[in-house]
């Protein structure tokens, strides 16, 4: 454990910017919202900004990505397949622990199953991750109920905790330790971890007044979803509320469904494009010939919550898919973010 004085933060960011493309929480000048974005300049990164509106998942899983291009000559029958060069080392700074957990879900899902997703791996393997302990929860947050915050226990190269006068600089990898060495950071004293724990405990205590409503019922929801005991009426209600806009999927740190399309360009090459997709869209499972096994909206909605909370899906992530960031709560126009779905399931059980 090391100490990073607040005056040294710019030096740390510049150190990273010299080695990586730098991404972090950046304030949008017009709306005042925070976005996780490419920092044009290290000084644009705001470690004290609120939780970003978007997730950092686009850095490993872009909204829109060419995964290969090819050229087929109809006359000579010559085909050239050109794999995309995707490797651009990135440093992600100011990662909330929920978003870091989302990335770890991705790692286990894209790299740890029967097949490795080569495109994901190309992005992921040369990354430097700097997590940031959340000292204050935001209104929609419930990471304490999904075991994903406010302190990141694993998966980072560096974790920063704001101790008031300085940041506690914890290293979680060789790359993190090397950075501490290159920056010449002083070692933290024995009281540092106690002070960090105090910050984390204070943050957790701030969750409590909010958690009484429903969020603490997540483990019961996991149980009900896994055993199939959620009533059809509940799914129908959720289905009726759903606008099928896909916003929940797009802001979710662990949603990773994608679509692939081949797009012809004027110069005769074709790009194979992978884009984000959402299981809430009607065409999601539609096959050629118009057969759609998942037409009713409630069939599609329960799919997403099954993916976030069921045990069988948790086996793929080695944790629940929901990381408690609460972004779906904030963006859902139908008011069926995760917290309200858990409430609906709770009402089934308690009757109120």
């Amino acid at each position: 454990m090391f100490v990073l004085s607040k005056a040294d933060v710019p030096r740390f960011l510049a150190h990273l910017a010299g080695r990586y493309e730098l991404y972090g929480p950046v304030l949008h000048p017009e709306s005042g919202d925070t976005f996780f974005d490419r920092a044009a300049d290290p000084s644009a990164v705001r470690l004290d900004a609120p939780i970003p509106t978007n997730t950092p998942k686009f850095t490993v899983f872009p909204h829109f990505e060419r995964i290969l291009s090819y050229k087929y000559d109809q006359t000579t029958k010559d085909v050239r397949i050109i794999p995309e060069e995707l490797v651009r080392p990135k440093a992600l700074v100011g990662l909330r622990s929920c978003d870091l957990k989302g990335l770890l879900c991705f790692d286990r899902f894209f790299l740890g199953q029967e097949f490795v997703d080569e495109f994901y791996r190309a992005h992921r393997r040369k990354m430097f991750l700097v997590a940031n302990t959340c000292a204050t929860p935001f209104p929609q947050c419930f990471c304490v109920c999904t075991d994903s915050g406010p302190y990141a226990a694993e998966g980072y190269d560096v974790n920063l905790t704001d101790l008031g006068d300085a940041y506690l600089f914890e290293t979680g990898s060789d790359a993190g330790r090397a950075a501490a060495g290159e920056l010449g950071l002083p070692a933290a004293g024995p009281e540092a971890s106690r002070r960090r724990d105090a910050v984390v405990d204070r943050s957790i205590a701030l969750f409590e007044p909010r958690a009484v409503e429903n969020k603490a019922w997540i483990s019961r929801a996991v149980n009900r979803l896994t055993t199939g005991f959620v009533k059809n009426e509940t799914w129908e209600y959720i289905g009726q509320q759903c606008f099928e806009c896909g916003a929940c999927s797009f802001v979710c740190p662990s949603c990773s469904c994608f679509n692939i399309e081949d797009v012809n360009r004027v110069n005769g090459t074709t790009d194979r494009i992978r884009t984000w997709d959402s299981c809430s869209f009607e065409g999601y499972a539609r096959m050629a010939g118009e057969h759609n096994p998942r037409r009713p909206v409630e069939d599609r909605r329960n799919k997403r919550f099954f993916c976030k909370l069921s045990y069988s899906q948790s086996k793929k992530y080695l944790r629940p898919g929901c990381v408690g960031c609460g972004r779906c709560v904030r963006v859902c126009p139908g008011d069926i973010g995760m917290a309200n779905v858990v409430t609906a399931i709770r009402r089934e059980i308690t009757g109120k």
């Binding site: 090819y70 029958k77 397949i81 794999p83 469904c257 081949d262 539609r286 799919k303």
Partner: protein, 280 residues
């Protein structure tokens, strides 16, 4: 990206040349192909019941089950012209190239079903994914009890692989029943839906495995009839089709229940299908 030779067919399509095109039925053609890379042509190995992702250059990619048997059959795909990408395939000619990724999926459980009677029940182009399994069963005839094919289509014009079925019919120890929905001039065979053949063929249910593939309505009727006769759910095997984008368990388009058709399937027992809690 460092993609080794074997992994190449997973992430990137490998080019193959169409060597022959056969008209099957209306809108369905069979495309024989060989890989451009002679090494891959020699080594590309599949299991019966698997599928590949087929790229039509300039149009896109689709998932297609494999009709060819790994044992000595020529590689080919039988495809119905039904959407944007398959219609682009139907516009291709001999000498044109396609791209192949795969093979993916689990395949049929031949080791587990040795010694049993095999009942193949297919409707329309549902015979395509069962073809390789039938070829396998005939090559290893002594491994199995009775082998029965019950096959139906809307009309005689919509019966797949008719010359092949005639060949099979002549094989000793292979019982073939073919039906069409309504009688028509020149048809001397059975008339009626395919599940009615189960009675006609006196299908056994002990030590028996049924392979069922066809449109949902036919599937349900056949399952109903087989179950009513006492065939157990885990003795009914089917291969499912879903919209797929990646084939390797990542895009999630083919999710059914807690499984993915691409990596957990496409071959399921009816017992499994029942627990998935989704329409077929």
């Amino acid at each position: 990206m460092d993609i080794s030779r074997n992994a190449a067919a997973v992430s990137l399509p490998v080019p193959a040349v169409i060597t022959e095109i056969q008209e099957e039925i209306a809108d369905v053609r069979t495309y024989f192909f060989r890989f451009e890379d002679p090494e891959l042509e020699r080594t590309f190995a599949v299991r019966s019941g698997q599928f590949v992702m087929c790229t039509i250059f300039g149009a896109g990619e689709f998932a297609v089950s494999l009709p060819w048997s790994p044992e000595g059959d020529r590689r080919h795909l039988s495809v119905r012209n039904v959407g944007k990408v398959t219609s682009a395939l139907h516009a291709l000619e001999v000498g044109d190239k396609i791209g192949i990724r795969g093979p993916f999926g689990n395949g049929f459980p031949f080791d587990a079903i040795k010694g049993r009677n095999l009942i193949y029940v297919a409707g329309g182009i549902g015979l395509i994914p069962l073809r390789s399994s039938i070829v396998h069963a005939l090559l290893h005839r002594s491994d199995f009890g009775r082998i029965i094919l019950l096959y139906g289509a809307k009309s005689a014009r919509e019966l797949m692989y008719r010359p092949l079925i005639e060949e099979w019919r002549k094989r000793e120890g292979f019982e073939t029943y073919v039906t069409i929905d309504r009688s028509e001039p020149g048809w001397n065979g059975e008339v009626g839906f395919v599940h009615t053949l189960i009675e006609k063929a006196k299908v056994p249910v002990t030590d028996t495995v049924a392979f069922v593939c066809g449109p949902p309505i036919m599937f349900n009727a056949v399952i109903g009839e087989l179950s009513a006769r006492g065939l157990k759910d885990d003795c009914i095997i089917s291969t499912l089709e879903r919209h797929m984008k990646c084939g390797i368990g990542k895009c999630q388009h083919c999710a059914i229940g807690r499984t993915l058709v691409c990596t957990d399937g496409p071959v399921y027992t009816f017992k499994q299908i029942k627990t998935l809690g989704e329409t077929i």
